[in-house]
């Protein structure tokens, strides 16, 4: 979570709000923030650290691990209409890569701004070519984009 907190300003600049959730109480969240995270991130965690001790939210999002009584690493990108646009769920030992989350935010925001008339090919980064799906593009993607263009 410290990685997300450390990049909060970048997320805010993109108009993204953050909520973290675990089965720890909000009192333990305070202790974790005050005793450890504040040493990793200037000023500590700037977003809501939600508590889901009974796992109700985790169950609804499919990240509840019944055997361990914890929530798996799960990342959900929710758009301004409250619709989930992206999700990624991982077992605990491997951390996320926030740069990929930010890339996806930028791609989904571009698609949304185009009202769905544009799509981003594999590996798309801001500034790269976007696709305009339509009758003319069917069977012709190869003319404008090849996998070798993915950086």
């Amino acid at each position: 979570m410290s990685a997300v907190a450390d990049n909060y300003a970048r997320l805010q600049a993109l108009g993204v709000e953050v909520i973290s959730v675990s089965v720890d109480s909000h009192f333990v969240h305070k202790m974790w923030n005050d005793h450890e995270l504040v040493k990793m991130v200037e000023g500590g965690v700037p977003f809501h650290m939600a508590s889901d001790q009974a796992g109700n939210i985790g169950r609804a999002y499919g990240v509840w691990d019944e055997g361990q009584g914890i929530e798996l690493r799960g990342r959900f990108l929710i758009d301004p209409d409250g619709v989930i646009q992206a999700m990624e769920v991982m077992t605990p030992p491997v951390g996320r890569k926030l740069a990929e989350t930010i890339r996806q935010v930028q791609a989904f925001q571009l698609v949304r701004a185009s009202k769905g008339t544009e799509a981003t090919p594999a590996g798309w980064m801001p500034g790269d070519l976007v696709l305009k799906p339509g009758p003319d593009l069917v069977g012709n993607v190869w003319k404008v984009w090849k996998p070798s263009q993915e950086k």
Binding site: V4, I19, H26, P46, F47, A50, S51, A54, G62, R75
Partner: protein, 81 residues
């Protein structure tokens, strides 16, 4: 039903779920919350106690309607990744 404020609610709840049911073997068996989170579908609404910038402030997903939200679950405080 009024929402418990501050420390009144001890755990998160999906909104359709209301307050956590009184614990009885019967209700725990019947009360299977369905996974409704899927890409392209509405995110399940929830409310939960939360620690926020030095205070205890309940958080609701609906508070952020009209904004992009990054919702991050993780295994636990004081874990290593």
């Amino acid at each position: 039903m009024s929402e418990p404020q501050g420390c009144g609610r001890v755990t998160g709840a999906v909104s359709s779920d209301g307050a956590p049911p009184a614990p009885s073997p019967e209700s725990t068996l019947k009360k299977e919350v369905l996974v409704t989170a899927r890409p392209g579908q509405k995110a399940p609404e929830f409310t939960a106690p939360s620690y926020y910038r030095g205070g205890f402030t309940p958080v609701k997903l609906a508070d952020f309607a009209g904004k992009w939200v990054l919702l991050c679950f993780y295994p636990g405080d004081f874990t290593f990744v």
